[in-house]
């Protein structure tokens, strides 16, 4: 009756574990189709969405604004997927959305550096030296995007319920360990946890809807009460507030809106100098 999110600490561990867990539990498997659905819903190429979450920022690469926009689209679809019960989710950002939600078991699969290097050499036909560079870049990219997009360290063990090194115990025991954990009573959905994920989903949906107004807009929802924190220039405050109100009117689940405007410091200082 629970939900399992599986995230991968490296590219050598792939969906076969999630697939095995879903089969044993009799749950639905949700994975890459999240990107496809986000691509359809928000009319952005899937490859661009994938780039936004798999590659760290570079000087000439994707802009911060675009990346945040794409990530908000992905989070909106991912959180919608997590509203379902009895799923094994191994798509993007599941463990991040699931923070604080009691009925979601958050699993992190990791492998030893040696195993990752061996896999990269074998899979991509690379020398050991080159494979080490690839693995190192993968680490840096993953850390960067998790930190930029969500302000967390993706490798922080405290954000997971289960951390498994598959190369140590093998695939069969990894699957069994996850299945046994998922069957524990503490991961049973309850009214409180379902409300938590509904709040999270609504926040993500609204964030995606308003991200073009301000890339750093903060959205918090609690039982239909929406609190927004947004940094706006004096000259645009009224206009943008009206746009926000108008857009939120289209969402049935919104019962009350509170907008906290944060003064744009740069705009204010420039105004004083003028």
């Amino acid at each position: 009756m629970s939900v399992v999110t599986i995230s991968y600490g490296s590219s050598d561990i792939r969906g076969h574990i999630a697939d095995g867990v879903a089969q044993l539990l009799g749950y639905k498997l949700v994975g890459r189709e999240v990107l496809k659905e986000a691509s359809n819903r928000f009319n952005v190429m899937e490859s661009k969405l994938s780039h936004a979450i798999h590659h760290g920022p570079t000087f000439f690469g994707m802009s911060d604004t675009t990346r945040k926009k794409y990530i908000s689209y992905i989070l909106a679809i991912a959180s919608e997927s997590l509203l379902q019960n009895e799923i094994v989710y191994h798509g993007p950002a599941g463990h991040i959305i699931a923070q604080g939600i009691p009925h979601i078991l958050k699993v992190r699969l990791v492998s030893s550096p040696e195993s990752r290097i061996a896999y990269t050499m074998d899979h991509n036909n690379l020398s050991r030296e080159r494979a080490e560079q690839v693995v190192e870049k993968e680490n840096i990219d993953r850390k960067k995007w998790a930190s930029i997009a969500f302000g967390i360290n993706d490798d922080d063990k405290d954000i997971y319920d289960l951390l498994i090194c598959e190369c140590q115990i093998g695939m069969k025991r990894t699957i069994e360990t996850i299945v046994n954990a998922a069957r524990e009573k503490k991961y049973k959905p309850m009214t409180y946890s379902m409300q938590c994920i509904r709040n999270k989903e609504l926040s993500c949906r609204i964030q995606a809807l308003l991200i073009d107004i301000n890339q750093d807009i903060k959205v918090q929802c609690e039982n239909g009460r929406v609190t927004l924190s947004v940094c706006l220039r004096e000259s645009e405050k009224n206009k943008k507030q009206k746009i926000i109100q108008k857009r939120l009117e289209t969402i049935d689940d919104v019962e009350h809106i509170e907008i906290n405007i944060i003064d744009d410091m740069f705009d204010r200082d420039v105004g004083i100098m003028r």
Binding site: P102, K186, Y192, S193
Partner: protein, 132 residues
């Protein structure tokens, strides 16, 4: 299942009982309210309840201890935990100890009523009115 659904409501905030007891009684349930967990346990020794609605943080004894004691005596009772300090760890602990559901305060009486209906169904009562 004979007669109306028997519910024991336990919360050290009197206001909770004042609001919920009449709201649930209006649905046809047999409701008893206690603000002291020790007295609630005494009552449970005398009478078998179908559902226990209990707070977690109380002075005399915490809700987790109450859950353990009550389930030890009546394994089939459905326990609904209500708390103003809902957090992931507490929610998980409550479910792990055998709670049927967990809801954060504040909530509307109707939210609790819906959970009670679910619990009643799990006990074999009819869904509409808590009567057998």
């Amino acid at each position: 299942m004979d007669g109306p659904l028997k519910i024991l409501l336990l919360d050290d905030e009197m206001i909770v009982g004042k609001r919920l007891e009449p709201a649930l009684a209006k649905c046809g349930y047999d409701v008893e309210f206690f603000s002291n967990p020790l007295m609630a346990l005494e009552r449970i020794e005398q009478k078998e309840f179908d559902i226990l609605v209990a707070d977690i943080y109380m002075d005399e004894m915490d809700g987790f201890q109450v859950i353990e004691k009550v389930l030890g005596k009546y394994p089939n009772i459905k326990i609904i935990v209500i708390t103003g300090y809902a957090m992931m760890e507490i929610a998980r602990e409550a479910m792990d100890k055998g709670a049927f559901d967990f809801i954060a305060k504040p909530f509307k009486p109707d939210d609790l009523r819906k959970i009670i209906v679910k619990a009643a169904c799990a006990l074999g009562y009819k869904a509409d009115d808590g009567q057998s």
